[in-house]
């Protein structure tokens, strides 16, 4: 007989606001059942987000799927788990430890476990999943796969999920493979019927239909960024497989195959090269962009390291390039399947010598879409590499976001490209001549005009007419213009998003990228504790003047980021000439997405120090 729950435990009672975590073994087919769980909640009109925490492995290692359900719309990780669906004996102890006091444990009770394996401050629900499977199915693979659907069925009763929503999703998922629908529905009801018969349903955690989802969509950032490249006019993509960016390139191929075939000939209006390495990927992008095609590559930290020399060439020779860096745990191979924001400095100053690059920081899949298209425009306008800094959390997890939008009247900004007509009319062309005072020169594309506009592109120093020169003044003139161009970039990149606290405050917080999701919940929690903080979400580097004004307008600024070395803070100090004491780092870098609770605790602890410490004493 299974271990039963301790009835004395105060069970958590919560509607549409809790965290369910699934502990599985990878390769066991749990992903699709878990995704059905999250989607069915969205179909009930309740905001939810999901995060895969998975190993760099194909089969047999632990993997987790965490679903945050939040009627208030907080879609980051909260921290803590209200219900653990513990399907992996290997991680049993750590999974159990994560459950909140009064929370719930759901597990497969077929094989009895000694009481010592449980906690007495949680509610235990043992379901004989293997026993049900063994009596129902003879095939080993079926026993494994349907076990996942059976626990989904049990959870639907325990948590009061609308079973019709799950049934509809199963129908959609197996559309075209109709023979699979019936057995899946059967398994779903096996689990559901067991729970209804054996338990009081629903338990303290439960769902009630709401209307908080609206027309929002559920998608991942790599897919969205790839679609942004299709809409933004990218025609050449070159890439080398690397987690967590591979699915971006693969999604681009899938979208192009669908939307980018010539309607008559069916031929491709795009070219994708899976290159031999990242050096070739970026080389192909640079060659294509030099020749007037919009081109991009997608990679992760190690790929950025390999591309360094070429990135410097593109900066110095002024060639557009769009690079998606889907950041993961670093350095070295680090944690390939875990998330971080740890490539900020290596991208901002990529390559040897004096370089600075434009970085965009999307907060979610929706901004990944818009920033992808934006990056293609910016790269052409500024004739320089532009990095779109995703991370694994944004890139590979499904997020609930507002629908993607595209303005029909939008035109691509192809930047300053001198045409054959302009050259023919005798307009002066100097490849590195700043004719408009914005630091951005005109370029010409190969093959434009029979006698005018040809120039030699090189990584060596040159004069304003692209002639080789080792003269100091020519070199300095060019480097100063590049700086001036970077100033121009400030006006063109996405502006930061400011949010004022309810009450005037001396404290501010800066954050960027995927941290945004947890930040909204953290700020609400802090405000409920009477801690007021103005915030600014940074969306791009170079930093807009608003960001520096925001810093100087507050006594203390918390800089929240997901890396060890406070890289954004360093960049702020360096570029804004800011006092380091004013910028307080809040750092989360264990490879899991940052949680609201982590931010709340870190800031609250910090503020306790600040308020207790004498004014002149520096912070620890």
């Amino acid at each position: 007989m299974a271990f039963q729950s301790n009835l004395e435990v105060a069970a958590i009672q919560r509607v549409n606001d809790f965290v369910v975590k699934f502990a599985n073994v990878n390769g066991s087919g749990s992903a699709s059942a878990n995704a059905l769980f999250a989607k069915s909640i969205l179909r009930m009109g309740i905001p939810a987000s999901s995060r895969n925490i998975f190993p760099s492995n194909i089969q047999g290692l632990p993997t987790w799927y965490e679903v945050r359900i939040s009627k208030s719309g907080h879609l980051g990780r909260r921290g803590g788990v209200d219900m653990m669906v513990a399907m992996n004996p290997e991680t049993w102890d750590e999974d159990l430890a994560e459950i909140e006091p009064g929370g719930y444990l759901f597990y497969d009770s077929t094989k009895p476990l000694p009481p010592s394996k449980f906690r007495d401050d949680i509610n235990v629900i043992g379901a004989p999943l293997t026993a049900i499977c063994n009596s129902e199915y003879t095939d080993a693979r079926q026993r494994q796969l349907f076990k996942n659907i059976i626990y989904l069925g049990a959870l639907s009763a325990l948590l009061n999920i609308d079973v019709a929503a799950i049934e509809k999703l199963i129908g959609e998922q197996f559309r075209g493979k109709d023979t699979l629908i019936k057995p899946n529905l059967h398994a779903l009801h096996l689990g559901r019927d067991w729970a209804l018969a054996e338990h009081d349903c629903p338990i303290g955690l439960r769902l009630e239909r709401a209307d908080k989802v609206g027309d929002r969509i559920f998608m991942n950032g790599n897919d969205a960024a790839a679609l942004g490249c299709v809409f933004g006019g990218a025609t050449v993509a070159a890439w080398y497989p690397i987690t967590p960016s591979s699915s971006l390139a693969e999604a681009f191929a899938a979208h192009c195959n669908r939307y980018r075939r010539d309607p008559d000939t069916k031929k491709k209006r795009y070219a994708i090269i899976q290159a031999e390495d990242e050096l070739a990927s970026i080389g192909i992008v640079i060659g294509a962009a030099w020749n007037g095609a919009r081109a991009f590559t997608a990679t992760a930290g190690p790929g950025i390291s390999l591309m360094q020399e070429f990135i410097g060439l593109a900066y110095f020779a002024e060639i557009p390039a769009v690079i998606f860096d889907v950041q993961r745990g670093s350095p070295s191979t680090g944690m390939p399947t875990r998330t971080q924001q740890a490539d900020i400095l290596s991208c901002a100053y990529a390559s040897h010598g004096d370089t600075k690059h434009v970085l965009l920081f999307p907060e979610d899949p929706r901004e990944s879409f818009t920033f992808a298209a934006e990056a293609l425009d910016l790269a052409d306008r500024l004739q320089t590499p532009v990095f779109v800094m995703l991370d694994l959390d944004i890139g590979m997890n499904d997020w609930l976001v507002e629908p993607l939008e595209w303005d029909e009247s939008r035109r691509y900004d192809r930047g300053k490209v001198m045409t054959a007509e302009e050259l023919g009319a005798g307009i002066e062309f100097g490849r590195y001549l700043d004719v408009d005072g914005d630091g951005i020169p005109f370029r010409t594309l190969p093959g434009t005009h029979p006698t005018r506009g040809a120039f030699f592109t090189r990584g060596t120093s040159k004069d304003r007419y692209a002639r080789y020169s080792e003269e100091g003044p020519d070199y300095v003139d060019n480097m100063q213009r590049l700086l001036h161009k970077f100033e121009t970039a400030k006006r063109l990149v996405p502006r930061p998003v400011k949010r004022a606290a309810r009450e005037p405050t001396a404290f501010g917080a800066l954050y960027f990228g995927s941290t945004a999701a947890a930040m909204s919940e953290a700020l609400e929690a802090l405000e409920n504790r009477g801690i007021h903080i103005d915030t600014m979400r940074i969306r791009a580097f170079p930093f807009h003047d608003d960001i520096l004004d925001f810093v100087t307008g507050h006594e203390k600024i918390f800089v929240v980021e997901q890396n060890r070395d406070a890289q954004l803070r360093t960049l702020l100090m360096n570029e804004g000439d800011l006092d380091p004491a004013r910028l307080v780092p809040i750092l989360h870098y264990d490879g899991t997405p940052i949680t609201a609770r982590f931010i709340v605790k870190a800031i609250a602890d910090m503020l306790a120090v600040v308020t207790l410490a004498p004014l002149k004493k520096a912070l620890p």
């Binding site: 080389g283 192909i284 992008v285 294509a288 020749n291």
Partner: protein, 351 residues
Amino acid sequence: MTYIAKPRLHHPKLPTNALGYTRRDYEGAVSTLCAGCGHDSISAAIIQACFELSLEPHRIAKLSGIGCSSKTPTYFLGKSHGFNSVHGRMPSVLTGANLANRELIYLGISGDGDSASIGLGQFAHCIRRAVNMVYIVENNGVYGLTKGQFSATADKGSKARRGAVNTDSPIDLVALALQLGASFVARSFSGDKAQLVPLIKGAIEHRGAAFIDVVSPCVAFNNNPESTKSFDYVRAHNEAVNRLDVIIGRDEITADYAPGTVETVIQHDGSALRLRKLALDYDPYDRISALTYLQQRHAAGEVVTGLLFVEPDSGDMHEFLDTVETPLNRLGEAELCPGPEILARFNAAHR
């Protein structure tokens, strides 16, 4: 190195080609390489080939890596766009450029260090991809710009000017190109313009990856008698398997050869390659026997030159990728952007 413009004036009676251009219209800046450098002869051969083919200079893009050879694109085709990229990485840049605009002619200029040492990977992969290009390696077996280190093509036992002996096995780029699927493979000698110019012409007219390895002695660091990349060694051991004439539509066929020794091959673009056989047993249409022949002769200390392999109707990267005929860099919003209606459908599918 300086960028010196040559005087634009030229003799009024200089011959012109079908486009009315003189040879001067295909020249570049004055070379700053060492006097007598084999590379300058190759530049001259490129100029001659483009002139004779009556190419529009601006429809050619010339790309290179880093090194003495990679400097040479400055010295020819001054009206063409050029790109001196990073060391060993010309092939990827050229591949990207070709993807963006399939209509231009792409000349990739590289050296033995650039292609066989640092850039061996990129060399191999752009050949594999059948990029439509002319890839010329100016091969002297030595690093010139950094003053005389051996490169990966130096023959084992070959002696440098200061007496150092190369103990590593050489990489034969011609053998590699054959193995990797290049559809036009030749070797020549910078000192043999009569052989080299037609090979370059044939390579330009060829569709697909055309590779020419040109042994080009380094007068400063590797022209001593014990070097297998010296003028004397190559002259003494040069074994040409054939002589090539390239005939494009407008040329008259004037050559007169002994019967049975000449073959005419029509390439994809209609140009004719007229091959005069010197080694009667050599078959330039058989990749495998070409490889065997090369390696046997190399073992005997010979440098086999000529058109070593050609597949006249080969495809290229664009054909394999199935891209549209219009160059990708000419497509605009109408052809590229799916528009808001498609996006609305996409959104609906993600709820």
